[in-house]
Subunit: 319 residues, 2 copies
């Protein structure tokens, strides 16, 4: 049986409310008794009971992250940054790889203070039944939602990519990304390419990566190359897809310009010169945390706000 405040109180010959105060450094307790109590608590290996605390304070200092698809390097990096940012802000982050609605329901039952969703569209939408009861923030692309979402402007990013390729003199562009999907982020990228290339009057082809992982992209490009050849202006839908594409691109082919979506440090260790465009993972993380904690601390309702973050273009030279 775990050690409780009472146990410590008995040991120290004080009442348990004094112990409670002492352990949270209340000014209402003498330094001397405080020290004694803390020492004892430590010696007895006291572990505060969050359930009890949460019952009285209505706070768990814990945030749940809903992240159904634990793969893809890019998003892993983001999760790590979010974890750090939350720690800084005094929260513990916990992730569920379960189905989003089940995950959120459990988070509610556990009385977590807030939830973050890596939004992918329909499949990750949380019902109001849930979101009326806990601060929520999503990360993804702007869409009709009863809770705030960090919008990373995939369309803006894709336009920058196209502009860059045009500037480099490429009139033929290949976009490699996931085409047949419900993931709204992927859809936006694809549609932007279509519209913007037409607007700018450059030729483009859409090549289906058949998924978001490196392996899927690698195989898709391989199939493609059996009958066709890649143009010199290439846009990849994500870091992982770029990795898959690069298997088939000669590093010494300096004709080609490759631009990939995402903005993570891993691009720096690629051996082929490459451009990337996206919002830095740190920035996304700190924005998520800032908005969520504000909403928690003010106790305000979730509102359908869209928080815009703008991508930036970077060049990664050959290492």
């Amino acid at each position: 049986m775990a050690v409780t405040l009472k146990d410590i109180a008995v040991e120290c010959g004080v009442s348990y409310s004094t112990v409670s105060k002492a352990l949270k450094d209340s000014p209402l307790v003498t330094e001397a008794t405080k020290r004694k109590i803390k020492e004892k608590a430590d010696k007895m290996n006291y572990i505060p009971n969050n359930s009890a605390r949460s019952l009285v304070s209505n706070k768990s200092h814990t945030i749940g992250l809903i992240w159904p698809a634990v793969d893809r390097v890019a998003i892993t990096t983001l999760a790590t940054h979010v974890n750090e940012a939350l720690k800084q802000a005094g929260y513990f982050m916990v992730v569920s790889i379960d189905n989003p609605v089940r995950a959120a329901s459990k988070f509610l039952e556990l009385r977590f203070d807030g939830v973050i969703v890596f939004d992918e569209g329909e499949s990750t939408t949380l019902p109001e039944k849930i979101t009326n009861n806990i601060p929520v923030i999503a990360y993804g692309v702007a869409r009709e939602l009863p809770y705030p979402i960090i919008n990373v402007h995939h369309n803006w990013a894709m336009k920058q990519a196209v502009d860059l390729l045009i500037e480099k003199g490429h009139q033929n562009i290949d976009y490699i990304g996931e085409l047949h999907t419900n993931d709204i982020r992927q859809i936006v990228k694809q549609e932007t390419i279509e519209k913007y290339c037409e607007e700018k009057q450059v030729n483009y082809r859409l090549i289906d990566s058949g998924g978001l992982t490196e392996m899927a992209a690698k195989q898709a490009v391989k199939r493609f190359l059996k009958t066709e050849t890649l143009h010199d202006g290439v846009i990849c839908g994500s870091y992982d897809i770029a990795m898959g594409v690069l298997h088939h691109v000669d590093e010494l082919d300096l004709q080609k310009t490759i631009v990939a979506y995402d903005n993570i440090k891993q691009f720096n260790s690629i051996e082929t010169p490459i451009y990337s465009v996206g919002v830095p993972a740190e920035e996304i993380a700190s924005s998520l945390v800032k908005h969520l904690t504000r909403s928690i601390e003010t106790g305000s309702e979730n509102n359908p706000e869209v928080i815009d973050l703008y991508p930036s273009l970077q060049f990664h030279e050959k290492k």
Copy 2:
């Protein structure tokens, strides 16, 4: 403010203890009132308070998974299987990507029912201070630990791999894996290769993959190939490393025999014929869950038991 049992009681004109019973289908309540209460509860969007439950029952029906390095495909697959198995067993799984000791401490404070650790050696070792207070099970390779560990016999697996290569007539073997690391799993693989190849009197080389990710392996092999060439018997330390190595292997090179550690379904979609050797992820998952839940339900102390799981060899033909 969240709906409580009391609120429902008032609405239904019964006492809240009746509501409590009704909602857990106690036989002590009439079907009629039960139905009425359940209906109301649903309508009022009642969400049970796990903190309160946990306080009285000492159970949270939640398990924490400690998984500091969310990358690598192979282990992601395992996590997914563990999540499923725990769900079947009536538990909710939650993962922390934080530093293992902090994660475990928080799990304790949250009064989770048990913790699973993806063990990597020193860096993921939990102190007794913690493990004396909660059922723990690790996944990794046998080592001195105050709590049970599922041992997947990397050495057995590597021996099978070497035997296979010898049988296929290869007297020169290349092992590609992470060589300079504290990760005990990698160390065991490496050392087994060394000893067993010497015992069997076959030539071998150790090639450092410089990490456990596909990208690291890919670059390492590329460097290697600048001055040397790969032997026809190749052993890869993991699925991800194999993926990195395959970038440099011609699919049509039927001279080569490639064996990779791990046993996950992803091997089936590789386009190069490949062998794999390892314990199936499902089996690891169900073993982890079985032992942990037994330990939770019997309330027994953590003991330093080693649970052995044996790898099996599989061939994946060209798709």
